[in-house]
């Protein structure tokens, strides 16, 4: 694309967003797809995704034949940037758009592509993920949910946890054990694009520390799923799951795009510090508060600079993977600290919770409690430090 075309497209996106940005719904929206807790929130966000898709701003680089836009990836990136800048709500079908969708386009059959892709984009079919299990939080290779072949079906038993959007999902990307033999624990795993509306699959909402519902524990009780929903061959589940994680972590491209969360950053905290009052004065004018705020600004800028340094090989010779491998730890811990700090800016109102009287409807309190989702999920911060100590610094195993 020529620079003039890029500018023109950007202006067009900006204009569309300004005309179509949804009005404040009058209730507190979730900040990520993992936090969708009520039907009201879900319907609102699904409508928004449909609208974005119909405008042609989702899956822009996916093939036209399956419902995508067939356009350069750059255009989708411009849309993503403008959506973030316009602070519009996120599009909720995150697992479909960014993990399952690219995976199906990459290795699915022609029939899979025709069946799934368009409805992922339009939010007609919501997708969820069945990787983690109650007894094996971060140890995916040790998955114990069993899938036993019976004719042209697999019979599934066991349970998965942290199933975001589980109550709304039509399909699940599922990793299950099809064999207990083989050279190692990974060899017995297989990967399924499993339908959720099957007798014996029961997504049970779990109440979070915030008091809201946001994810499920999904029970499988002799649930029969068609054998042809397996992606890859029997026993290849681990490598398909690793490929999925590459999409999940953004290590490879191909995602449908769209804003996947309302990203709260340090500028939001600075803005709050100007607006909120402690003892009758703007919090930002209190010297001790100010000092704490500067520490957080430095941490946020430092994280961004570390990302920039990581791109220069000459400056990363001693521990080449330190920055990349610590980004989840640094990012999630910073968000926890920022949101915790946000409460302290509000004086006695820091004690309020989701309600009209709370500052910004209580979103800061909710954000702080929700921030633990990232410091715990995907391997706790403490596990991250073990991994960094062992794999980056070469220290002995604990």
């Amino acid at each position: 694309m020529k620079p003039a075309e890029i500018d023109q497209f950007r202006a067009q996106v900006r204009a569309w967003l300004s005309d179509n940005k949804p009005a404040d719904p009058g209730f507190l929206l979730p900040e990520t797809f993992m936090e969708v807790g009520t039907d009201q929130q879900f319907e609102f966000l699904r409508d928004w995704q449909r609208k974005v898709f119909e405008a042609g701003y989702l899956g822009m680089s996916w093939p036209e034949a399956y419902g995508g836009g067939g356009q350069p990836q750059l255009m989708q990136e411009i849309v993503n940037q403008e959506m973030a800048a316009a602070r519009v709500p996120f599009v909720p079908n995150t697992i479909g758009l960014n993990w399952a969708g690219p995976l199906i386009l990459d290795m699915g059959s022609e029939a899979d592509k025709n069946r799934y892709i368009k409805n992922i984009l339009s939010a007609e079919d919501i997708w969820c993920q069945g990787f983690s299990e109650p007894d094996h939080g971060s140890d995916l290779g040790n998955a114990q949910v069993r899938a036993v072949k019976d004719g042209d079906e697999y019979v599934v038993n066991g349970s998965k946890i942290w199933t975001s959007l589980g109550s709304y999902a039509k399909y699940m990307i599922l990793i299950a054990r099809t064999s207990t033999e083989g050279p190692n624990k990974y060899a017995g795993l297989s990967f399924f694009l499993a339908p959720m509306n099957v007798t014996g699959i029961d997504p049970t909402p779990i109440k979070k520390l915030t008091g809201e519902y946001g994810f499920c524990q999904t029970y499988f009780d002799d649930a029969r799923i068609p054998a042809d929903c397996m992606l890859g061959q029997e026993g290849e589940g681990w490598s398909v799951a690793m490929k999925t994680l590459m999409f999940e972590r953004g290590a490879v491209g191909g995602q449908a795009g769209g804003l996947s969360m309302m990203d709260l950053n340090i500028n939001d905290i600075i803005e709050l510090a100007r607006r909120a009052t402690r003892n009758g004065r703007p919090a930002i004018d209190d010297p001790l508060t100010r000092d704490e705020l500067i520490k957080l600004v430095l941490e946020a800028r430092g994280n961004a600079l570390m990302g920039s340094k990581a791109k220069i090989p000459a400056l990363n010779q001693t521990y080449p993977t330190a920055v990349a491998m610590s980004s989840k730890l640094r990012g999630s811990e910073l968000k926890r600290k920022m949101t915790r700090f946000a409460l302290s800016l509000q004086g006695a109102n820091g004690a309020r919770y989701i309600s009209e009287q709370a500052m910004d409807g209580g979103k800061w309190q909710r954000s702080y409690l929700n921030s633990f989702s990232a410091t715990i999920g995907g391997g706790t911060s403490q596990i991250q430090k073990n991994i960094l100590g062992e794999r980056v610094l070469g220290l002995p195993k604990s």
Binding site: L298, L305, S308, K309, A314, G389, G394, L395, S398
Partner: protein, 368 residues
């Protein structure tokens, strides 16, 4: 954003190799015991490499590069706990380049490029980090010249310096003046005891030293000098932090207690990871500061980036030094353990030109 220049890339390799060969960590105590400010052979090699003239324009015998390009050299030196008059001399050259007259530059920059040692005297005994709070006075003489009176402390390498650039108060404003070492008697230069034993630090007393009007610099940009100094000190600290991390990781991988390598204990492993991330952070902020300095975008951008680097370096290096002692257990309490060398270096550096709290205080008005 960090931009790594070709000059920096080239110097990074040369400097790492040079410092590891010339200043193995096992020799740090020998350098301390020798008590001299420098090894003449090492100094001559540095002169031959052109390091004395890195930021000096080619017309004055230098390499004509940017001061930011010198950052990898100071980082490499810091990692080996090297102390040479390069830091003091580079900063003195910087003052001449930014504030000196044509005559002053052509007289001194040629000499510095060729190895003459110079040192900037700016700190006063009240310990105030505000470089504009100056008691040393430059007073006009009836005869037309000036006299310089007062005391500067923490003047690096004063015993070997041939030139001092001294900040003084003149008619209520700060000025720089040049004082060649021959204008001072030996009793006026006295070695100080400082926490980092690798440093050669002096108290210099100026008592009615005659200063010719030709030796007063036409300009005095204290803030620019402060920023240049902090950029190089933070670079040195970044190296020091990488060095102490290396010492700690080695010990955690060799020392056994209760039949296990102590690195397997999470109580040591996790804070060592914090040290690693601190080191990555400091290095990133240092090279960011160098980038902003080179691009010279705006005074406030430069100041923010450099204060950020000095702030992070002060906090992270001193913490790593502190933990480095603790993680060596009983050995850490002995003089023989290298961890103390790094802690002492960290503390010395932390209190040059403002610790982390001071930097944050200064940053408030730059950020909000």
């Amino acid at each position: 954003m960090i931009v790594f220049s070709e000059e920096q890339a080239m110097l990074l390799d040369t400097a790492n190799e040079f410092c590891q060969n010339q200043a193995p960590r096992s020799a740090v105590r020998d350098v301390i015991n020798a008590g001299t400010a420098m090894d003449p052979l090492v100094w001559q090699t540095m002169v031959d490499l052109g390091w004395l003239g890195i930021s000096i324009p080619e017309g004055y015998g230098g390499l004509g590069m940017n001061l930011a390009d010198a950052v990898p050299i100071f980082e490499a030196m810091g990692r080996q706990l090297m102390d040479t008059p390069l830091l003091a001399t580079t900063l003195a050259a910087q003052v001449l380049i930014q504030d000196g007259s044509e005559d002053q530059k052509s007289t001194w920059l040629h000499k510095i490029s060729a190895g003459t040692i110079a040192s900037v005297a700016y700190q006063e005994s009240d310990g105030n980090w505000d470089l504009g709070a100056i008691d040393v006075a430059l007073t006009p003489q009836a005869s037309g010249g000036f006299t310089l009176s007062g005391t500067k402390i923490l003047v690096p390498d004063a015993e070997v310096a041939e030139l001092f650039i001294v900040s003084a108060r003149h008619e209520g404003r700060p000025v720089w003046c040049l004082v060649p070492s021959e204008s001072l008697g030996s009793s006026q230069v006295e070695r100080e005891t400082v926490i980092d034993e690798t440093r050669h630090s002096y108290c210099v007393r100026f008592s009615d030293v005659l200063v010719s009007p030709d030796d007063v610099l036409p300009q005095c940009h204290l803030l620019t000098f402060e920023m240049a100094s902090m950029m190089l000190i933070a670079a040195e600290m970044s190296g020091g932090l990488a060095g102490v991390l290396e010492v700690v990781v080695d010990y955690l991988n060799t020392r056994k207690q209760f039949d296990k390598l102590i690195g397997s204990y999470q109580a040591l492993k996790h804070p060592t990871v914090d040290m690693l991330l601190g080191s990555e952070l400091v290095r990133s902020t240092v090279y960011h500061a160098a980038t902003v300095w080179r691009e010279n975008k705006s005074a406030s951008a430069v100041e923010t980036a450099i204060r950020m680097a000095k702030c992070c370096a002060s906090e992270q290096f001193s913490e790593a030094g502190d933990r480095g002692i603790q993680f060596h257990g009983g050995f850490g309490f002995t003089y023989e353990c290298d961890a103390q060398l790094f802690l002492r270096r960290a503390l010395w550096s932390q209190y040059q030109l403002g610790d982390e709290r001071y930097q944050r205080q200064k940053m408030g008005s730059l950020l909000f």
